[in-house]
Amino acid sequence: MNHSQGFLKDIQISCLVVGWLLSNTASIILSFRVWGGQSMTDSAPSWFFYSAEMIHSLFLINHLGDIFLEKHWKSVISRSVCDYFFEAREKAVDPENVPPVLQTPHHYLISIYRGKLFFLSVIQTEVPPLFVIEFLHRVADTFQDYFGECSESVISDNLVIVYELLEEMLDNGFPLATESNVLKEMIRPPNILRSVVNTLTGGSNVGETLPQGQLSNIPWRRAGVKYANNEAYFDVTEEIDAIVDKSGTTVSAEIQGVIEACVKLSGMPDLTMSFMNPRLLDDVSFHPCVRFRRWESERVLSFIPPDGNFTLMTYHISSQNLVAIPVYVKQSINFFEAGSCGRLDITIGPKQTMGKTVEDLKVTIHMPKAVLNANLTATQGNYTYDCTTKMLVWDIGKLNPQKLPNLRGSLSMQTGVPNPEENPSLNIDLKIQQLAISGLKVSRLDMYGEKYKPFKGVKYVTKAGKFQVRT
């Protein structure tokens, strides 16, 4: 941009000068590089200047830009360091456009955006950025796990527990205990009953006995688990990420699958899960409890589960494979120059649903700025149009193959403003129960190591992930 303006202002003389300068800058750049190269080796070795740690401090910042929690694992860093972040935050307009890694004169700031909160960590030395990002998300996950949600109000209400958690999760800036099972042994999650009891008795949230998990060979499971009802449930959830173009052809489609487990089994159960069609799974990632070699050789999941809820595995079926698209969309959105209005007509029908019903169908459209209002009729479900966010949401519900849902009508446009060039794309949400769209099926689940008979259950569900129809 600057460049183009620059050259347009130039006349030829300055072009020439620029040309000369260019050749000069080339050498300047070159020498700079040489210098830069040297400076790399010239700078102080890490053990000389930099204090050693991975994560130095953490600030939690709400969407208004207030710092409502700070934790330092080493010496205190003034919160004014966050000003650099606020500057970037302002520049980015959208919170999700804030660069996750920022460089300031003395520190590096690595941040994540979760649940309208920024988790901002201060780093002083080289550290893999993903290491920090992954850790911060793990912190957010832990809060979620403990308090049911990860929001400012919940964190402020449980400030002390949060602080204790942070203290346990990081030692001198290096992750120490990040397994929820271990943490829960040391710091009990709050619940209403206990907090009542605690206030009466002066009891605490800290575990009375010290944790054993860190000391066993299976750090994710605590010892001495006991349940009256032993049960193990697995949810296989698949999300379809797809881009469908105007004409209805699939540009790209992938499946993101995840198996969530809720295992409440006494003792030290050793589980084995096998699939009808394990070949589908060529790109997987596992919870650390899964024995990878067993998977490599036999394609079965063999593991001693953590206690409670956890993600057993995630898998990815890439766009190289054929992915079934459950619905099709017929749409036409037009804007007319003359009447400063537009027409919209959308119909949705089932495509490859494997005989199941499509539920919770919803279409979201982010309209161009010029669209002032929508005057539509839906044959099924309700629609809303938010004039400020320009979001048109059509909530359809169950898809009836006999009577296809349709939304049509006119859009009123701002006058005197040129027509939007781009038609907005449609984002589709849907859900299909009892179906993994990839065809994945669990064939059996066996338990070894314990004598009792557990209840077992597997549930399948398919959802739309980032399902987008271009118009």
Binding site: L16, W47, F174
Partner: protein, 1085 residues
């Protein structure tokens, strides 16, 4: 007033007997801390509760303590005993937690306690406590870097730990304390590889990153053959760290060619250890932790044979489904990888397609990847995608897309025209940004292919009728002007139209019209003369002064008049110069010289503490260093199959097995043979060798040295690292002992090492190599024995000083300086430091001062403390012995020589009434009870001058008299030498620029024009050690001030005719200034 009382309620609660009240108070206090409010005034009230029985109260007190201990050190000390008690608790968790908190309290006074606690915990039964010990190491290190050596010992010990719990934490400590000590890894390498999969996730990341660096120093480039091919073919840089100077680059290329040629002869076989690493990390691509996946991905990218790198693509693409921050980092790395290894990601092209819901920064990165992946076969699909993107509402993204189209067009000639046409259409876009971006790109594309201009320019000329966006009009005019010779018919017509509409145009368009007119006037004045003048006249009366100015200026330049100056002759050259075509390059090009996945890579700038990824070695270091011996009882040197192994042992053994210098004999035998085997061990010989011996062996091996020079540089580095421990053990040996042993040992070694190499399970070539080496060393050892045997005990010092000169010249050849280590046990001789190391083995005694060893020296200056006359017969001289003062390392050793010239005995010589500047300290010499008449006695005292040249005043007392005396140190004596490598020196110097650097020009004294004299004079003036240096024009010296340990770096750069430049870099500016003066004087007198 208010503030001091505001927490009274809390204090009260803390003082109460009820745990519930205490807990409530602590919770409120911790909440204050969490909100960033100051709670420091509660410290005394809180610290009392450190021993509270309630676990939660205790925990919160710990939280508080760690936060405020630094600010309230005195009070914090009160709590220490609680933790010390905790360290001895039978419960491992209490021990661990005590250590954790203790090590988190950043109070310098407790450093020794922490050190002790860490050492103890490192050998704790419980792996959990050992893990905590590993965590505590970097904490202590950042509190007091002086503890480094001791901490390295602990790290070494913990590295040998076999539990997964400890592995990650200790490698983290290793990376933060001593990442340069790669030699510590050898023995643990295989174990780490095998444990890796069971280590917790965070530890995996750290270990993988460290092993990547390790592998780069120990294995050969698996792509060596391919990289040669590529280099010949496309001239692509295939080596990662290729940002050296250009001439160096060429040299390197030659080298590479040689190596590659060698590789051709010998087909590349991957080291099994290299394979082990690749095999054991691969499963971790399945980790749920993005950081682990990334770590493995970068390991494969940097270490795997090309054919195998592909496996990481799938895992990386999977990460793209993760949180947007993860996507951001992964995409950055994919962008870099996709430049070098496009094929790897091509199958996943569609995974990089952009959704309208992606954040802009993700969109732009995906675009980058798509552009990198574009080739002849997929370009049509990609362009179709791009077409959708151009319509996006996100204008920054559209601009980026246009740039991307431009890059595709430059890279793939087949689609250049399509792209151009597409872009030309975009010129009619309503959005200025789109237009401007398109124009920039079109302009770039046109400049690339001048011969095809005319069509498009014609087309664009037509567009002037329709396009109203001023920016676009202006750009088109610029293009027509620039290439008016390609469209000779159209250009004047366009000018005609423009002249007509001139008054209605926007300013930027007007400027370009003038521009076009001027260019046409110069090329086609016949047709356009009048038009141009018309335009210039219009412009002359324009409202905008820029335009008026421009018009006036151009008229002067192009229209020849009598007054027009010399410039008008060159008008054509000025206006129609050939402008270079801009290069459209990916911003991610060449970023892979940073280790992927690192912060530095992401920022494309070196972050603090970044460990450079080393280049592949050209010849693989001995792989047997990683062999782990089972039978530890066998004397290690008999098992050695090669020198590498022996060398390795030297480091490992002293720490592990011998406690009281027990392994001394084997040590010396080892290093002897080292020095014999050849050049690479020259450093080893230096430390161990007794003076002349090492000289001889070096001379003998010089020819070898030259051949092996390349290999050596690496090894030398390692060697240097190894030195300290060796020295420590060796310095304890007296020379006689050593000689004897060396005679004894050299014989059996011959036979045994030979037979050993047969036994060894190494590949044939290896063992034969080591055999030949051994036989070589045999000969050498024989040669060496003679001088060693015939060598007289300590030579008179005069000769020695001569030897020093010789020594120096040898050093120059070898680019090496003996390490004057501060740990050398005091040898109380008047020898300059470099000699000390040589003579270490020779001195007869190392503890008690014996007058016999003290002889007046020419190298050390003596100063008079007390004159014979004022002292009534007692005269005292002193000199700075330059020996570390053993009772206190921060003191300067001052050696005093008392001579009793009187006829009666002097008794009870001692010091009294010391008067010092604040901060200075004196360690008096032990009282000399009797000094008979005519006798001489010597004593050493230590003075901590606090890095200043202030005098230390005191009274020297005899049994009868007191004399007021003072000792004032020359600035050069306030430092002790440190050993630095050339690189370290440069690094340190880079940190001490600006105010900390003093430079003086000087003319060298006539007698002082050669290097040796310079070295001698500088080292005489200041207690510094020489830093090896590649150039013979520069002499470098390094030292640290005795008290504060600030670095002192001295460079003397000589030029022709005795001109020279002296540079002193020192944090302490006063010291620097004074030192400059002193050295100047020494060099010019």
């Amino acid at each position: 007033m208010f503030s001091s009382h505001r927490h009274d309620d809390l204090k009260e609660m803390l003082d109460s007997n009820k745990d519930s009240l205490k807990l409530e108070a602590m919770k409120r206090i911790v909440a204050m801390i969490a909100r960033g409010k100051n709670a420091s005034d509660l410290f005394p009230a809180v610290v009392k509760n450190v021993a509270c029985k309630n676990i939660e109260v205790k925990k919160l007190v710990y939280v508080y303590l760690v936060r405020y201990a630094e600010e309230q050190q005195d009070l914090a000390l009160l709590s220490i005993s609680t933790f010390q008690r905790g360290l001895k608790d039978p419960n491992q968790l209490i021990r661990a937690s005590a250590l954790r908190v203790l090590s988190s309290i950043r109070v310098t006074i407790i450093v020794p306690i922490m050190m002790l606690a860490i050492k103890e915990a490192a050998s704790d039964m419980s792996p959990y406590v050992r893990k905590t010990a590993a965590h505590a190491i970097p904490k202590l290190y950042s509190l007091d870097p002086e503890q480094k050596d001791q901490l390295i010992e602990v790290i070494e010990k913990l590295l040998a730990d076999k539990t997964t719990l400890v592995a990650g934490s200790v490698v983290m400590a290793f990376e933060e304390v001593c990442p340069e000590r790669i030699d510590l890894i050898h023995k643990n390498y295989r174990k780490l590889c095998n444990l890796l999969i069971d280590v917790e996730e965070w530890g995996q990341v750290v270990i993988i990153n460290m092993l990547t660096r390790y592998a780069r120093t120990q294995f050969l480039n698996p792509n060596i053959n391919e990289s040669l091919l590529e280099e010949g073919g496309s001239g692509d840089k295939t080596f990662y760290g290729s940002d050296e100077d250009e001439d160096e680059d060429e040299e390197e290329k030659e080298k590479k060619a040689e190596v590659a040629a060698m590789a051709k002869r010998k087909p590349y076989v991957m080291d099994p250890d290299h394979r082990l690493l690749l095999r054991n990390t691969k499963p971790l691509l399945q980790s749920r932790n993005a950081a682990v996946v990334m770590a493995v991905a970068q390991l494969y990218f940097h270490l795997a044979p090309k054919a195998e790198v592909g496996v990481i693509a799938k895992a990386l693409v999977r990460l793209l489904r993760s949180h947007s921050e993860v996507q951001y980092v992964v995409l950055q790395n994919v962008a870099t990888m996709s430049i070098k290894r496009r094929g790897m990601f091509e199958p996943y092209l569609k995974s990089f397609y952009i959704r309208s819901t992606d954040p802009t920064q993700i969109k732009v990165l995906k675009l980058e990847v798509l552009t990198n992946l574009a080739n002849e076969t997929n370009i049509s699909t990609i362009l179709r995608e791009f077409q959708t993107y151009i319509k996006s509402m996100d204008k920054d993204f559209v601009a980026a897309t246009i740039q991307a189209i431009g890059r595709c067009a430059t890279n793939i000639s087949e689609v250049r025209d399509t792209c151009l046409n597409g872009l030309v259409q975009l010129l009619s876009n309503r959005d200025e940004l789109v237009v401007a971006e398109s124009v920039v790109v079109i302009k770039k594309l046109l400049q690339m292919q001048p011969e095809k201009h005319s069509d498009i320019i014609k087309h664009m000329a037509k567009l002037t009728d329709n396009i109203q966006v001023p920016m676009a009009r202006a750009s088109i005019l610029w293009l027509i002007g620039e290439y008016c010779e390609h469209v000779p018919k159209i250009a004047p017509d366009v000018l005609r139209k423009m002249a007509k509409s001139f008054t209605n145009e926007e300013d930027i368009v007007k400027l370009q019209i003038i521009n076009l007119a001027a260019k046409l006037y110069l090329t086609n004045s016949k047709q356009t003369k009048l038009l141009t003048q018309y335009v210039l006249n219009l412009a002359k009366y324009d409202q905008n002064y820029d335009i008026r100015d421009r018009a006036r200026f151009i008229r002067q330049l192009i229209v020849p008049t009598e007054k027009s100056g010399a410039l008008s002759k060159y008008a054509k050259k000025l206006f129609l110069a050939l402008k270079p075509a801009p290069v459209l390059e990916s911003p991610f090009k060449d970023r892979d010289h940073f280790q992927l996945g690192s912060l530095s890579h992401l920022l494309n700038a070196k972050a603090g503490g970044y460990q450079e990824l080393p280049d592949w070695p050209e010849a693989a270091p001995d792989p047997s260093v990683r062999n782990v011996e089972v039978k530890e009882s066998v004397p290690e040197w008999t098992k050695c199959s090669s020198r590498e192994k022996r060398k390795e042992k030297k480091v490992e053994k002293p720490f592990y097995t011998d406690s009281e210098g027990e392994s001394g004999p084997t040590e010396s035998a080892d290093s002897e043979s080292d020095s014999a085997t050849g050049s690479e061990s020259s450093s080893g010989s230096e430390e161990s060798g007794s003076g002349s011996e090492s000289e001889e062996s070096k001379e003998a091996s010089e020819s070898e040295e030259e051949e092996e020079e390349e290999e050596e540089e690496e090894k030398k580095k390692k060697k240097k690292d190894l030195k300290k421990p060796v020295q420590e053990s060796e310095s304890e040996q007296s020379s006689e002992e050593e000689e004897r042993k060396h005679q004894r040992k050299s014989k059996p070694r011959k036979s045994e090492s030979e037979s050993e190499s047969d036994e060894d399970e190494e590949s044939e070539s290896e063992s034969s190599q080591s055999e030949s080496e051994d036989s070589e060393s045999e000969a050498e050892v024989k040669k060496k024995k003679k001088p060693a045997e015939s060598k007289p005990p300590p030579k008179p010092v005069k000769k020695e000083s001569k030897k020093e000169k010789k020594e120096m010249s040898l050093l120059d050849l070898d680019d090496f300086e003996p390490a004057p280590s501060p740990q050398v046990t005091p040898v109380n001789t008047f020898l300059s430091n470099s000699l000390v190391t040589d003579l270490e083995g020779l001195s007869l005694s190392d503890s008690v001062l014996s007058p016999a060893t003290i002889a007046p020296s020419s190298t050390l200056k003596s100063y008079e403390l007390l004159h014979r006359i004022t002292g009534e017969g007692l005269s005292v001289e002193y000199c700075f012995s330059r020996q570390p003062f053993s009772p206190d390392a921060n003191m300067v050793a001052v050696q005093m020589q008392f001579t009793n010239n009187a006829s009666s005995d002097t008794k009870n010589l001692h010091i009294e009434d010391v008067k010092l500047q604040s901060g200075m300290r004196v360690k008096e010499f032990p009282e000399i009870e009797l000094l008979p008449a005519g006798e001489t006695a010597t004593a050493v005292m230590g003075i901590d001058f606090c890095d200043s040249t202030q005098a230390a005043n005191f009274q020297l007392c005899t049994h009868t008299r007191k004399f007021f005396v003072s000792i004032q140190p020359p600035v050069g004596e306030l430092m002790r030498p440190v050993f630095l490598t050339e690189n370290e020196f440069k690094k340190e110097q880079g940190q001490l620029m600006g105010m900390n650097e003093i430079t003086e020009k000087l003319t060298l004294d006539v007698k002082c024009r050669n290097e040796h004299t310079i070295v001698q004079r500088v080292t005489t003036a200041a207690n510094l050690s020489r830093v090896p240096c590649g150039s013979d024009k520069e002499c470098r010296f390094a030292g640290r001030t005795v008290t504060s340990g600030s670095l002192v770096l001295v460079t003397v750069a000589t030029k022709e005719e005795g001109a020279a430049q002296l540079t002193v870099n020192c944090e302490k500016m006063v010291i620097g200034t004074m030192l400059v003066k002193d050295i100047l004087q020494a060099l010019t007198q």
